[in-house]
Symmetry: C2
Amino acid sequence: MSLIRKSVENMSGYVPGEQPDDSRIVKLNTNENPYPPSPVVQKALSSLDAEKLRLYPNPVADALRKRIAELHGCSVDNVFVGNGSDEVLALCTRAFVENDGSIGYLDPSYSLYPVLADIRDVEKRPVPLKEDFTWDVPSDYEASLFMLTNPNAPTGMLASVDQVRDFCSNFNGVVLVDEAYVDFSSWNCMELALEMKNVMVARTLSKSFSLAGLRVGYVVGSEPLISAMYKLKDSYNLDMISQEMALAALSDIEHMTLNAAKIIATRVRLSKELEALGYHVLPSETNFLWVKPANINAKDLFERLKNIGILVRYFNGDTTGDYIRITIGTDEEVEELLKALKT
Amino acid sequence: MSLIRKSVENMSGYVPGEQPDDSRIVKLNTNENPYPPSPVVQKALSSLDAEKLRLYPNPVADALRKRIAELHGCSVDNVFVGNGSDEVLALCTRAFVENDGSIGYLDPSYSLYPVLADIRDVEKRPVPLKEDFTWDVPSDYEASLFMLTNPNAPTGMLASVDQVRDFCSNFNGVVLVDEAYVDFSSWNCMELALEMKNVMVARTLSKSFSLAGLRVGYVVGSEPLISAMYKLKDSYNLDMISQEMALAALSDIEHMTLNAAKIIATRVRLSKELEALGYHVLPSETNFLWVKPANINAKDLFERLKNIGILVRYFNGDTTGDYIRITIGTDEEVEELLKALKT
C-alpha cells in the first residue's frame, strides 16, 4: 500500500515564477510592485521588539480585521485574513466544495486554480475565454465554487460589475472574486460581497501595497462563509510581524494609491510603445500587459529576453502560447525592455 | 443547497489557549518560552530593509532548509518547512490520508488532532492512554496516519525511542512524531525519520527557540513524503521575514539550549514544591507540568487562579478533567504561582 494519497502521487504542484537571486536582473515576471512599501511599514519594522515573538500571535488577527472592516464599511465578522490570498483560495476549496463537488474558473486565468482543484481532488470545470479574451458563462453552467479573477490574469482585462453581478446571481455555488489587481483598475466588485450571500471578494497586499514578501491577503463576504473559513484555518495562520506590518501598510492608503498611479502611467506609455512596434496589446486594468509580439514567436522572445537578463512570463498552451505577460516595472526597467525589443 | 460543506457546518473549530492583551497577567497557559529569543534574532530583525518585502519570498525556503538539513545530518530533500508546525500537521492529513482513510493519535494528546481529522472529514481512531498515562497500541491497530506527540501533551511524558521504533515498524501508515517539546527532553526520535520510510519527525521554533509569534515549524522524513507535502502547500507558505528570523535563531543553538536548561531547572523545582503540597505531578520532559491538585478540584483551581491573574490550562473531559497543565515560566512567575497555591 502506498503511503501517499493517490491523487497526490498523480498531480504536479504549482510552479511559481522564477525568483532569481541576481539583483541585476530586470524582473518583470511575477507582477511585483517596483516601488517600496510605505515608509510607515519600515518604521514599524525598525521598532519591532524581538522579545515579544516568544508569545503566540493573535489567532484571528483582530486589529487587522478591524482596520479592513473599516476600509470596506463592513463588520469584522465579514473579514477573513490569510497567510497570503494563497491561503484564502485554498481554504475556499475546503470550505465550500464537497468531495464530489467541482471548482470552476476562467481559462486562461490564474494558473493556480486547476492545481487547487487537484489538491482537493475534485472535478475541474474551466470556462474557456472567448477569442477576444472576454467571457460568458453558459446559463446551465454549475459548480460548487467559482474562482473569478477580475481583472483577469494573465489577460489583464476587467469585466463590468454588472456582468459579474449577473453571473453571481445565476450561480448556485460560492463565487470568489479574486481582486488581486484591483488597485490598478477603474472599478471593483466589493459591493457584491456586501450585497450577496454567495459572493466573496479577495484582496492581497502583495501587489499594490508592495508586500509580496509578507504574505497577507484577505477576503470579504457574508458571515456564514467567513466563519466556515475560520473553522478550517491553521490555529495561528498569520504571524505577529505580518499582522503588524499589514496594519501599518493599511494605515497609509495614500502611499499605495500614488504608487499605483505611477504604475498605471507607465503601463499606458509601454502599451502605446508596444502598439507602435506592431504588438497586439490587450487593454490592461492591472500592473502587467498581455501582449502578442510582432515578427517573433512569443516563446522565442521570452527566451531571448531571459538570455539578456530580462525576465517576463510565458505560459505554454493553446490559448496562451502566442502571448507573453510583462509586469510593469519602473520607467527605467521599461525603458531597458523597450530598448531590447527594438534591437 | 447549502453553500458550505456539510462536514464543515457540523464541526467546531480548534480553540487555542487565551492570548490576553494585559501584560500583568502571569501567562502559564500556552507553553510559551518565558525567555526572549537569541539576540541574533533581534539583530537580524533590526537590520531588515522593508523595501525587499515588495518581492515574493523564496517559495521553498532554501537557505533555511539547508541549515536544518545540516543540523540533522540529512539532505535538503528530507526537510519541509511550514508556517508553524500547524501547517506541517495539516498538510500531512492531506498528503497521506485518502478520503476513506483515518487518522490516529493518543488520547489525551494535542487537542488539535481530532479537529484536523474533522477538517479532513475522515475517521478518527484515538488510542486511549493507560491509567498511568503511558501507551500501548494494539497489534491489530490500523490507520492511514498516526500523530504521535513525544513527549506527549498535556501529560509531559516521554516514550523511549525503542517503543516508538517498535510501534512505527508494526504500523502500515505514516507516523508523524511531533517533537514540539523535545528540547526539554532527555532524548529524541530524529534517527527514526532518517532510518524508516514511514516516519517523519516534526519540530517547531515556537517553544524552545522562543519564537511562537513567528510561525515556523519543520518536519524531517523520507524524500517521497517530503515531496508530496511540497506539492500541496500554498505557493509561498513562509514569508520572507519568518525565513530570515528562523535562520538567525538556528544559527544560535547555544542560546536556545541555555534557555531550555533554565526552564528544566525551574521545572524540577516547581515539581518538587507541588509534590510537597500533595499534588500528583507527572514526570515531565517538557516545558510544562501536568498536575492533579490536592484538596481542590482542578476546574475550580483553574478558575480561582484566573481570577487573580494567573492563567493555566484546563481541558474538560473524563481523562483530563482532574488535572491542570502549568507552563514553566520564569522563577518569579513560578514563585507567584506557588504563593497563590499555598494560600
